[in-house]
Symmetry: C2
Subunit: 212 residues, 2 copies
DNA sequence: TCTAAAAATAAACACCGTTTAGTAATTTTG
DNA sequence: CAAAATTACTAAACGGTGTTTATTTTTAGA
């Protein structure tokens, strides 16, 4: 009676195929190109079929979301080798920026677009495990920094928030090309990279000053 | 021969009416509700008529964009009364956050949505005068802070960028409800407000430490 | 008043997410 | 093995979007 097992396997495979297709469309041609019809065409099924595997488009986007968070967390994992918490914190900033700049699409999906947020607002908790975990890594590191005598007198939660806000603002502005207009150069990508790099350096200087 | 003058006046009035309608729809019912058909219905004209006054939808959004930047700059104008540059800088943070939280829709239009950006990438410069002016106010203030002995050894442009990035990250995360998931409280709006307020306080503390 | 220009529109085109009703394939049952 | 039942799939439609084209209505000037 391997029929049931096979059917379940096929169901999972189809789900994966849909998600893979959606991600490919998203990364290759932008958020707007994730259309049910485009996905359907890519996997060579009718649009209606997709609704047998996902409740609606939001559910697809949310699944991609989870994958994105897992990717972010994976960027943080190698940082355990840095035993000094402050050093690890700085490396986390690097890892975060690297994640955002090498995966601008994924970053946009995770932190810029608001559509999935609204969806998540409904089916609370548990869906955001991955996101919470990412923040928790930061929080723990900041906490350890404080235990080592850094950032005296600052609330851990708020300081973590501040650091994340800064890095997010940097990445978000960079990715959305809001920075390019400040400078007059032509090649936007280079400008963004340069500004982000040097701004981040400034951030590091500021953090250094706050160490003791 | 006042006919030509009247026609020109009517042309401008119609343009304004379209923009006013678009802004109303946007602020009242969100970005998605800015549809050519909705605008047309609101001003009691056919959808096609709108294309006699605007090249496409992007041109409408971009016009709203400019208005948004003018509103932001207007939030900064009262700050000239603060003669101490550092005090003015802090007040600018307050003004920016106030702008973002009291006009989340406008803020989203200006700094979160990317659609208008792409449009702007084509018709470079001149369209962004207002945006540049807003950043310039910040830059000048930071520069004056440094002339008063604050923020020693930090590049002005980058430090300005850092400050903007931080505040933007805070507002952006707050508005997009990315913060709410960190805490487990139910009333998101309150949580966002609280976290933003206290985080901002932390930021102020950090800035204070950097004064000398 | 008649004509030429300008302004507005109806209708269509090609998309979108989603639903419904019906077909085709597959599995289970008699 | 054939019939019934279940499952998998899809064609077509609904109401929405931005935009274009051909046509009609309104207006202005001779």
């Amino acid at each position: 009676m391997g029929v049931k097992e096979r059917k379940e396997r096929e169901k999972v495979e189809m789900r994966d195929k849909i998600l893979q297709s959606a991600q490919h469309l998203f990364l290759a041609r932008g958020f707007d190109q994730i259309s049910i019809r485009n996905i359907a065409e890519a996997i060579e099924y009718s649009p209606a079929t997709i609704y047998l595997y996902f409740k609606d488009k939001n559910e697809i986007v949310h699944a991609l979301h989870q994958d994105g968070f897992r990717l972010l967390v994976r960027h943080f994992e190698p940082l355990v080798k840095f035993t000094d918490p402050f050093e690890r914190l700085i490396e986390m900033g690097n890892a975060y920026i690297k994640f955002a700049t090498t995966n601008p699409g994924v970053y946009e999906l995770l932190f810029v677009r608001t559509e999935p947020m609204e969806y998540v607002s409904n089916c609370l908790d548990e869906e955001w495990k991955e996101g919470d975990r990412a923040f928790d890594v930061l929080f723990q590191t900041v906490s350890q920094c404080q235990q080592s005598g850094h950032f005296k007198g600052l609330d851990t939660q708020n300081l973590s928030m501040m650091i994340w806000s800064f890095i997010h603002g940097l990445c978000s502005l960079g990715i959305s090309n809001h920075i390019a207009h400040v400078k007059e150069a032509r090649d936007k990508k280079l400008v963004v990279d340069a500004v982000m790099a040097s701004t981040y350096q400034t951030f590091q200087t500021v953090m250094e000053r706050l160490k003791s």
